[in-house]
Structures are given as structure tokens and as C-alpha cells.
């Protein structure tokens, strides 16, 4: 066991995948960074992307497989589709998920529909790594999560790890998966640490994780919200409340069975998601549970989400935007009254 940050875990998964399969390549902006196209040297490997996640890869695997791109997301996302169909396993970076719009067509219409529309003859084994999340004082165009935007689209798989184990294990799986996978990394989780076994195996996509066992209420926590869910659960222990925390980890495919099993036991559910509320993961999960666990439910399903606004910049407003431990506790108490 070693203690790894999420950032290190992702870097390890990339290195292992590059080592295991020579068809794995990486394309993105400022992976290397530097100067002097002719000599191709200089201060290469300066950045590793804005969060330094890919640092060292260029030196290890060379510029043929680790490619700095221009600010041309539609171009290199489309290239990833073609490369994936013909034999490579491209990983492409969308520096912030907020930039989705400039290259969405390549995912929504090309990557996602290639297999289906052309009769199931071709696969598109590509991974989009992207950075999501509020709480960084990064304003409206660098703080969104947009989970549901991708989850909505048939043909795309969507993964969003919370801790370092899941980050590594799920990324390993995403890279060997034969479908296009959107792998969402939360900027406020990069530095969070946990123990990761040396020879961690790929963690299958579509399997949720019970992060805490309990019998009184099911908390479905979306990515960073696991942090606050755990805080809330720990506080509530003192009041004799046993919360069960479930992290779905992958939103498409979603581990519905795990959710239903938990609800069967607790009869009460709260879903916590820092995304906007309308047509969100929270509303999707809520509707699934109400359809499938109607007779088990002892209280209305509660959703705790951001308001229907863009992410504001100023700290008091952004803190209000993100569901907090305090709000979670309050909401749980409301449900427990039933």
C-alpha cells in the first residue's frame, strides 16, 4: 500500500496503460508546453496540463505518443474518434469540462453514434479526461460539472471518481474499455489522498461503491459530495443516526441495483449533486428510485443540488451554490421526521 493523491493515482494509471499497450496515446493542450518546435526540447514537460497531472509522460513515452495540441478541441477530439476506430486507444483532454461546447459534436454525434449508426461494425475505444467542479473561485466558465450532459447521450460512458483508488482503478478500466468514456476529474479532489494497493486491478465500470454502511437513510453522493456526505454522516452518528453513503462512481452505466438494495433497507433517500438541478443526475436517480422502489419508500426522495444559476465567482455566493455539510444535515433531519 502506498498513499497517493488523486492526481498521482491518475498519473500512475496513465503510465501503466501506456506501458501495457503501445496503442495508447495522449492528446491535449499544454501537456508538455515549451518552446522551440525545431529542437523539440527546451523546457518540455513544463506543465503536464494546468494541474500537472500528466507531468513526466512526455519524457517517458516521447512526443509521438504524447502530443501537445493547439486550442482546436474539435480537431483533436475528432482525430481521436478516427484514431480509435482504426486501432489506437486515444486519451484526449478537455482542459475544463466547461469547454465542452466547442467540441461537443465530435462526442455527441461522432464518437457516440459511430458504432450504432454504422451497424455495429466499428468500436470507438477513446477516453476523454476532463476537469470538473466548483469551489475553486474559478467563475462561471471554469466551474461546472455537466455530468448529465454526457450521461444523457446513448453511446457514451461516464465516470467520475471520488478518491485515489477509484481514480486509478476506473481510469485503467476506461482505457481498456472498447466504448468512448468520459472520465471526469474534480479539481478540488486532485490533492486528496488515500491508500492505494500496489497492484490495483482495473475497477469495472458500472459498479457503485458503498462508502459507509448504515440502516436509517441512503445518501447518494455524486463525486465531491461524498466528502460532505461523510462529514454529515459522522456528525449524525452522535445523534444515533446511521447513514448509508453510496457513490455511484459511474453514471453511465449506473449501478441501479446497488441503489435499490440500499433503499429497500433504509426506505429514505437523499441525493447530493453539486450540478444544476434541472434534468440532472439527481433528478434521474430520484425518478429511477421512485419508479423501482415505490413500496419501500417511507419518505419523499430529497435532492440537494446547486440552484438553477451559473456558478458565481465571489466566495459567499459560490459557497451558497455548493451543497454544504450543514445543508445536508438539515435535509436529512427533514426526511428522518417521516
Amino acid at each position: 500500500m502506498t498513499i497517493l493523491t488523486v492526481k498521482e493515482a491518475i498519473n500512475q494509471a496513465l503510465v501503466e496503460s501506456f506501458t501495457n499497450d503501445k496503442n495508447v496515446i495522449l492528446m491535449g493542450e499544454d501537456i508538455a508546453g515549451g518552446k522551440g518546435r525545431e529542437q523539440y526540447q527546451g523546457t518540455q514537460d513544463a506543465w503536464g496540463g494546468p494541474f500537472g497531472v500528466t507531468q513526466g509522460l512526455l519524457t517517458k513515452f516521447g512526443p509521438e505518443r504524447v502530443r501537445d495540441t493547439t486550442i482546436a478541441e474539435a480537431g483533436f477530439f475528432g482525430a481521436a474518434v478516427g484514431a480509435a476506430m482504426t486501432g489506437l486507444r486515444p486519451i484526449v483532454e478537455l482542459m475544463y469540462v466547461d469547454f465542452a461546447g466547442v467540441c461537443f459534436d465530435q462526442l455527441m454525434n461522432q464518437a457516440a453514434k459511430m458504432r450504432y449508426m454504422f451497424g455495429g461494425k466499428q468500436n470507438v475505444p477513446m477516453v476523454v479526461r476532463t476537469v470538473v467542479g466548483a469551489g475553486f473561485r474559478a467563475g462561471s466558465e471554469h466551474s461546472q460539472t455537466l455530468y448529465s450532459l454526457y450521461t444523457h447521450i446513448p453511446g457514451l460512458k461516464v465516470v467520475a471518481p471520488y478518491d485515489a483508488i477509484d481514480a486509478k482503478g476506473l481510469l485503467l478500466s476506461s482505457i481498456i474499455d472498447n466504448d468512448p468514456v468520459i472520465f471526469m476529474e474534480h479539481k478540488r479532489l486532485y490533492m486528496s489522498k488515500c491508500e492505494v494497493p500496489e497492484n490495483l486491478k482495473p475497477i469495472p465500470l458500472g459498479k457503485g461503491r458503498i462508502r459507509k454502511k448504515g440502516k436509517d437513510i441512503t445518501i447518494v453522493a455524486i463525486q465531491r459530495m461524498n466528502l460532505f456526505a461523510e462529514e454529515a454522516a459522522n456528525i449524525l452518528v452522535d445523534e444515533g443516526v446511521e447513514c448509508e453513503i453510496i457513490d455511484p462512481r459511474t453514471y453511465s452505466p449506473l449501478d441501479e441495483a446497488l441503489l435499490y438494495e440500499s433503499v429497500k433497507k433504509t426506505g429514505k433517500v437523499i441525493i447530493i449533486d453539486e450540478s444544476n438541478p434541472k434534468c440532472s443526475l439527481a433528478s434521474e436517480i430520484s425518478s429511477l428510485i421512485s419508479e423501482n422502489c415505490f413500496s419501500d419508500l417511507k419518505a419523499p426522495i430529497l435532492k440537494l443540488t446547486a440552484p438553477h444559476t451559473p456558478v458565481p465567482f465571489s466566495p459567499p455566493m459560490e459557497d451558497f451554490y455548493i451543497p454544504s455539510t450543514k445543508k445536508i444535515i438539515k435535509s436529512i433531519k427533514t426526511i428522518l421526521k417521516y
Binding site: T70, G139, F320
Partner: protein, 328 residues
């Protein structure tokens, strides 16, 4: 070129204000006194001030996340800019935008965008509106060398030319797009060549010489209106600032930075003061005024109230049921 005395004073004062403002931002960023990402524009002063000096107060512009210089040169209130960067209620965007989105519509700013190349199409729209309504406001979009690669720029350029829209595409070629040098990301030697594909007139100029920037812009505005056509301008300068405050800038070689210092836009402007019969006393006066104004703005900002958390619920729509916005 003859310059009216008031304009000349304005130019010097703005150059100094931008430089001092950004230096102050760098300082407080180090002390972690302000939240969020900060993209300063040390090295861009001559382009910001030179272009804006050729514009009318209410002309349209768009800017980017690296907008402090544009906003200051567009005569946005310095106190409001600073207050916004501090995230306060009296900020230019009421604390909703932050440093990356400093923009005042009432001063002709259509927006400061966090998405690379989001500006050109929006300014194209404003220019289209001016054309349709036979308005007289000029339209200018600012973007960087890195934005050249983005489809939004190309699509706007193609449409502007096709529709005979008078507007200026102003590309600041500061040598870098984040950590990636221009010679790393582009095969085209002159960025202005790119516009030729659209049969668009283009000019290049020294982005460190405020008077050259001003003259090229003035001429381009006149030509653009006369010929009813968009024009592309490339101004070459150097990004002394990192991509953002906190960037180690390891990829920028020291020799390169030192070389660029020889043509620092502020230094060049001071050297040229003589040509315009400004004494060093006058120059020092401008400096002092600028510095005072900057200090005052920061003092103001620090003492401003924070927004209320619920203020975040306003301004999403013009008209929408309030109870449907808050969902917590």
C-alpha cells in the same frame, strides 16, 4: 502623427495605470489576498491603450480572461474593476464574474470570455447590428495567438468577410498560449497571413509601440468603414506575465525575457515622450497620478462589503419565477 494634448495625456496615464495595476495584482496574488484565477497583462499595455485610443468611448469591444488592461483602457471604473477582483458586492459584475470576466456593457464591452475565441463571433454580431441599423459604433474583437486555431475565430472571420462587415479582428501575438510558445503551436510565420485565406485585408505592427498601434488602428478603422470590410491586425509583443499568477513560467527562457525587456512597451513609451514634447516632470506626474489612482482603488476594494449569498440568484434571466431558481 499629431496627437491632441488631452489624448496624449490619456495615453500615458492609461499605460501607467495598467502597469501599476497589474503589478499590484501580482503582489496581492502572492500574498493570497484575492480569490480565484488571475491573468495579468504585463507587456500588453501598448496594445490595449493604442487600440482604445483610436476608438470612441462607446465603441464595441470584446475581451478575454486576460482583460484588466482592456477594461482599464476602455475607461471602466478602476474601483469597480478592483472590487470585482476582490469578489465584492460593488464590483463591476456584482461579484459574479471575477477577474476572468471583468466587463462593463455600459462602456461598450460586450464581454470578457473564459472560452478561447468566444469573442470574435459575438463582436461580429454587434457589427452586424450596427450595419443593419446604420449605426456608427466601431466593433473590435481582441484575442490571442492561441485563439487563431479555434473554429469560432475562423467562422467569424469567414462570415465577416462574406457579409462585408466593417470590424477589426485584433490579434495580440504575445509569443505564448498558456505554456505553449507560438513557434511550437503554429507553422504560419505571420498570423496576419491567416486572414488572407478569407481574402481579408491585414496589417502587422509593433505591439510594444503604443503610437504605432494607435496609427495602424486608426487607419484600419477608416479603411474598414470606407471599404465596408473587416480587417485583421496582428500586434507582436511579449507576455511578461505567466499564463496566470502562480505559473512558474519555467518554459519561458530567461534570455528571452531579458531580451524582451529591451522593448518593454512602457519603456518605449517613455523614450518616445520627447517626440511629443513631454518633459520628464510631466511623465513623472502621470506616473504619480496613475499610482495614486491604483492605490486608491485597492483601498476601496478591500473595504467593500461581500455580496449576500442569495444575491447569486439574481440576473439569471430577465424574467423567470424566482422560486424555480432556488432549489436547495
Amino acid at each position: 502623427m499629431n496627437i491632441d494634448q488631452n489624448k496624449l495625456k490619456w495615453i500615458y496615464k492609461k499605460l501607467f495605470t495598467i502597469r501599476f495595476f497589474e503589478e499590484k495584482i501580482k503582489k496581492i496574488a502572492k500574498e493570497k489576498l484575492v480569490p480565484g484565477y488571475l491573468h495579468t497583462c504585463i507587456g500588453s499595455e501598448a496594445i490595449c491603450v493604442g487600440v482604445m485610443s483610436a476608438l470612441n468611448e462607446d465603441d464595441w469591444i470584446s475581451s478575454t480572461y486576460r482583460n484588466h488592461g482592456h477594461a482599464i483602457a476602455k475607461n471602466c471604473e478602476l474601483k469597480e474593476i478592483t472590487s470585482e477582483i476582490f469578489g465584492r458586492k460593488t464590483g463591476i459584475c456584482k461579484g459574479k464574474g471575477g477577474s476572468m470576466h471583468i466587463s462593463d456593457f455600459n462602456k461598450g464591452m460586450l464581454g470578457s470570455f473564459g472560452i478561447v475565441a468566444a469573442g470574435p463571433p459575438v463582436v461580429l454580431g454587434a457589427a452586424l447590428q450596427e450595419k443593419i441599423n446604420k449605426g456608427s459604433k466601431n466593433s473590435v474583437t481582441f484575442f490571442g495567438d492561441g485563439a487563431i486555431h479555434n473554429g469560432a475565430f475562423h467562422e467569424a472571420a469567414g462570415l465577416a468577410k462574406l457579409w462585408d462587415i466593417p470590424m477589426l479582428f485584433v490579434c495580440e501575438n504575445n509569443g505564448y498560449a498558456e505554456a505553449t510558445a507560438t513557434d511550437w503551436h503554429l507553422n504560419t510565420k505571420n498570423l496576419s497571413d491567416i486572414s488572407r485565406a478569407y481574402n481579408m485585408i491585414s496589417y502587422r505592427g509593433d505591439g510594444n509601440n503604443v503610437f504605432e498601434v494607435r496609427e495602424i488602428t486608426q487607419n484600419a478603422l477608416n479603411e474598414s468603414i470606407k471599404k465596408n470590410t473587416p480587417i485583421f491586425l496582428e500586434f507582436k509583443n511579449y507576455r511578461f506575465s505567466g499564463q496566470y499568477e502562480g505559473d512558474t513560467q519555467l518554459y519561458q527562457p530567461l534570455e528571452e525575457i531579458n531580451e524582451a525587456k529591451k522593448t518593454d512597451p512602457i519603456k518605449i513609451a517613455i523614450e518616445k515622450a520627447n517626440d511629443y514634447k513631454l518633459s520628464s516632470i510631466e511623465i513623472n506626474n502621470f506616473k504619480k497620478q496613475a499610482l495614486d489612482e491604483v492605490e486608491e482603488a485597492f483601498k476601496f476594494a478591500e473595504t467593500q462589503p461581500w455580496p449576500e449569498p442569495e444575491d447569486s440568484l439574481n440576473d439569471v434571466y430577465v424574467n423567470y419565477p424566482k422560486n424555480l431558481i432556488l432549489k436547495v
